[in-house]
């Protein structure tokens, strides 16, 4: 018996075990929504904007490890996904995004709400395709889920024209699919890995650099075992944060542009840099010619194209982090790294991370209280200064994981991602650290969080500026704060060197804003109020709480390495 495309779509989601769809209706997906409306197994969540929708799906995927599923209409519904697709592509988040499309015969006619979304997103999806025959629908959806979640995960876009949704055809949803051009790396070249291990073993000052690949492959336990067996100090990228518990004695900190002094010095001075699951982004390496200048470099990555692209490596190994670590553990022996660790400790003492405690409430104080009040669950961030502080001062590990936008650095990511994380893991605490700028980019999702009854703790670090850019202006642009002040109004002086008594009030009032959505709102101005506000927020179980922390405008993210400079050229104070 034949089946309509829309019915097969539903069947496919059911057989893939999809529990939640992030959807926003529109003309050319009404049939698919109609199918979802008439069943109970799959929950549909309705974010208030498609950008919020796709970031929520990312948060869901990062928190659960399952692909996030999006369903939006053609045209503007589809184009609003673009930022999220790029974000997911960069940070390797498995997503399957379905977009409606005008009927096949109208494609190319500039029909109402027609865009070539597959063409537009070709460079920011792992795979994208328009379904042109009803008979291909099942196979394409199967491919989409397989491609999104295997190998190096990523977003897949499936564009379904209206007439395909209605057409009758084969009712079968395939159990498996063969794709001749897609063979994700499995296994590991043992000889090459052995070479890498021998190099590591020969080191006097070995250092492991862990990237997001360790977290994505869920290899944290294996990783910790290797580190402890061999006694090798560890630095991480931002996406790798938490690969080893941050309070572990062998963990130095994250390295890179805003990395810890000791971590960057260790990279500069190590003689073997053993890296796993990182793409050596420019925020990690700085000036490439000065990166790890004394080290032989091992690079383990599941993506062959990531190897020797930015940094020329001595021993490349193509493998999933987990597969490689399992093998390495068979050989792992203790190394004598005592002297090297002492050297690192000296650097740590020389310039420890920390903000002054004599000038009122600092981000560090807030984050320390957040660590205490919410020691488990998910810590989600947006992008900017607060993100760097969160990465510097948050305790992470197997019971507390970080969700952040690393590669693309997408402002507006944090809040919807927190919603997705809470939806995916309702039993876990979800705390969002966000800035006043980034929160405003998707704050309409307060409606979603309230309607879904999600008790998320939203900590808005309000410094009244787009702080990360303001910091660059403060340090390198003669304090010309071009359009980074969010209090600025018509009538403000053309050149403004910073806040003063005559400045206009901040808009919006975040407390009233939260309340207008039916969320809880609180404002914290003094360090003494932090713990109480967080404890109070914890008691709210039926709706999110927005806590606005009024922090100093001048607080900087330090250390800082200027873009393109060597990693030992850190601005420290």
């Amino acid at each position: 018996m034949n089946m309509t495309g829309r019915r097969l779509f539903l069947k496919a989601l059911q057989e893939e075990g999809v529990e939640m769809v992030f959807g926003y209706p529109g003309g050319y997906v009404t049939d698919l929504f109609d199918e979802l409306y008439r069943q109970e197994g799959i929950r549909l969540v309705l974010p208030r904007h498609e950008q919020g929708l796709i970031h929520a799906a990312e948060g869901y995927a990062k928190a659960t490890g399952k692909p996030g599923v999006c369903l939006v209409t053609s045209g503007p519904g589809a184009t609003n996904l673009v930022t999220g697709l790029a974000d997911a592509h960069y940070d390797n988040v498995p997503l399957v995004c379905f977009t409606g499309q005008v009927p096949l015969e109208l494609i190319g006619n500039d029909a109402f709400q027609e865009v070539d979304i597959v063409g537009m997103t070709r460079s920011i999806t792992k795979y994208g395709v328009t379904v042109r025959n009803r008979e291909d629908l099942g196979r394409i959806i199967k491919m989409a889920f397989y491609i999104a979640s295997s190998g190096k995960p990523g977003p897949v876009l499936v564009d379904i024209p209206k007439d395909i949704q209605l057409a009758s055809g084969d009712p079968e949803y395939p159990e498996s699919v063969q794709i001749r051009g897609y063979k994700p790396a499995s296994g590991v070249h043992v000889g090459q890995l052995k070479k890498a291990y021998k190099l590591l073993k020969s080191a006097k000052r070995p250092l492991i650099l862990a990237g997001g690949g360790v977290n994505i492959s869920g290899a944290n336990e294996l990783f910790q075992e290797l580190v402890e067996t061999m006694r090798i100090p560890v630095v991480t990228t931002i996406m790798g944060k938490g690969a080893l518990p941050t309070d572990h004695s062998l963990y130095i900190g994250s390295c890179g542009m805003h990395g810890k002094y000791a971590a960057n010095m260790a990279v500069m001075e190590c003689d073997v840099l053993f890296s796993i699951g990182t793409r050596f982004n420019d925020r990690i390496t700085g000036d490439l010619s000065e990166f790890a200048p004394k080290a032989s470099i091992v690079h383990i990555d599941v993506d062959t194209a990531a190897i020797s692209r930015n940094v020329e490596v001595d021993v490349p190994v193509v493998a999933d982090a987990g597969t490689a670590l399992e093998k390495l553990l068979e050989w792992a022996e203790k190394m004598d790294t005592v002297a090297w660790q002492e050297r690192i400790e000296e650097w740590e003492k020389e310039y420890p991370l920390g903000q002054r405690r004599d000038r009122g409430m600092t981000p560090q104080m807030i984050l320390e209280e957040v660590n205490r009040e919410f020691p488990t669950g998910f810590l989600v961030t947006d992008v900017g200064q607060h993100q760097m502080w969160a990465i510097q001062f948050s305790e992470l590990g197997p019971n507390r994981r970080l969700i952040t936008s690393g590669g693309l650095g997408t402002m507006g990511f944090g809040f919807p991602a927190a919603i997705g994380a809470k939806l995916g893991r309702p039993e876990q605490d979800v705390v969002l650290i966000t800035g006043d700028g980034g929160f405003q980019m998707n704050m309409q999702e307060l409606a979603t969080a309230v309607c879904e009854k999600l008790p998320i703790i939203i900590c808005v670090f309000n410094n009244q500026y787009l702080g990360m850019v303001r910091q660059i202006q403060q340090l390198f642009y003669g304090k010309r704060y071009a359009h980074t002040c969010l209090r600025r109004r018509l009538g403000c002086p053309l050149m403004c060197k910073g806040p003063g008594a005559d400045c206009p009030p901040y808009t919006p009032d975040f407390v009233k804003l939260a309340q207008s959505f039916g969320a809880y709102g609180a404002r914290v101005e003094k360090a003494e109020e932090i713990a109480g506000a967080l404890a109070e927020a914890r008691t709210h179980t039926d709706a999110p709480t927005v806590i606005e922390f009024l922090i100093s405008s001048e607080e900087l993210v330090l250390p800082m390495v200027k873009s393109g400079h060597a990693m030992n050229q850190m601005i420290l104070s």
Partner: protein, 171 residues
């Protein structure tokens, strides 16, 4: 970091014969600032598979990256590096020489003879050359006719197609 020489390299690329694949492949070159010299595409004996012949100008490191980036595309079935293997490679080229006098026409025929190309058409004051030469030989031919027949030529090139040799002596 070692800097190697920029040179011409060749890739045979087997891809799914589907809508959008050519755009995806060419988009990779523009998106990542790779220097694409020429790209030809056509279906193979298997109609579900297209084969492209791609010429790029790059250093070793970039070329390695190009091959890897192509390889990781879902629609790419196989990447064959033709740079170091014996191949047969030809490019179709038409050159129309216009505004010729009798001496000019004679010259055109002489050039055709020397280069071993066909005269495909002829008019009162014009000659059409049809060339199936290597890309390099075609370049030389163009240089020559540009010099001899100033401002009155029209050239259309097809881009090179290449296939691995059966015997190993030819290139």
């Amino acid at each position: 970091m070692s800097v190697s020489k920029m040179k011409n390299r060749w890739i045979a690329l087997y891809v799914e014969n589907q809508v959008g694949v050519l755009a995806k492949v060419s988009g990779l070159f523009s998106g990542k600032s790779y220097n694409l010299q020429s790209l030809t595409v056509g279906t193979t004996e298997d109609e579900t598979v297209s084969r492209m012949t791609i010429s790029v100008l790059s250093d070793d490191r970039t070329f390695e990256q190009i091959k890897k980036q192509l390889n990781r595309m879902v629609e790419v079935i196989k990447v064959v590096d033709l740079t170091q293997v014996p191949i047969h490679m030809k490019e179709i080229l038409f050159a129309k020489l216009l505004g010729l006098d009798e001496a000019g026409k004679e010259e055109a025929f002489r050039i055709a003879q020397v280069f071993g190309v066909d005269v495909a058409d002829i008019g009162e004051d014009s000659v059409l050359l049809e060339c199936k030469l290597t890309e390099r030989r075609n370049n030389e031919l163009i240089d020559l006719i540009k010099e001899r027949f100033k401002n009155s030529i029209e050239v259309v090139r097809g881009g090179a197609v290449a296939i691995e040799s059966i015997s190993t002596s030819c290139r």
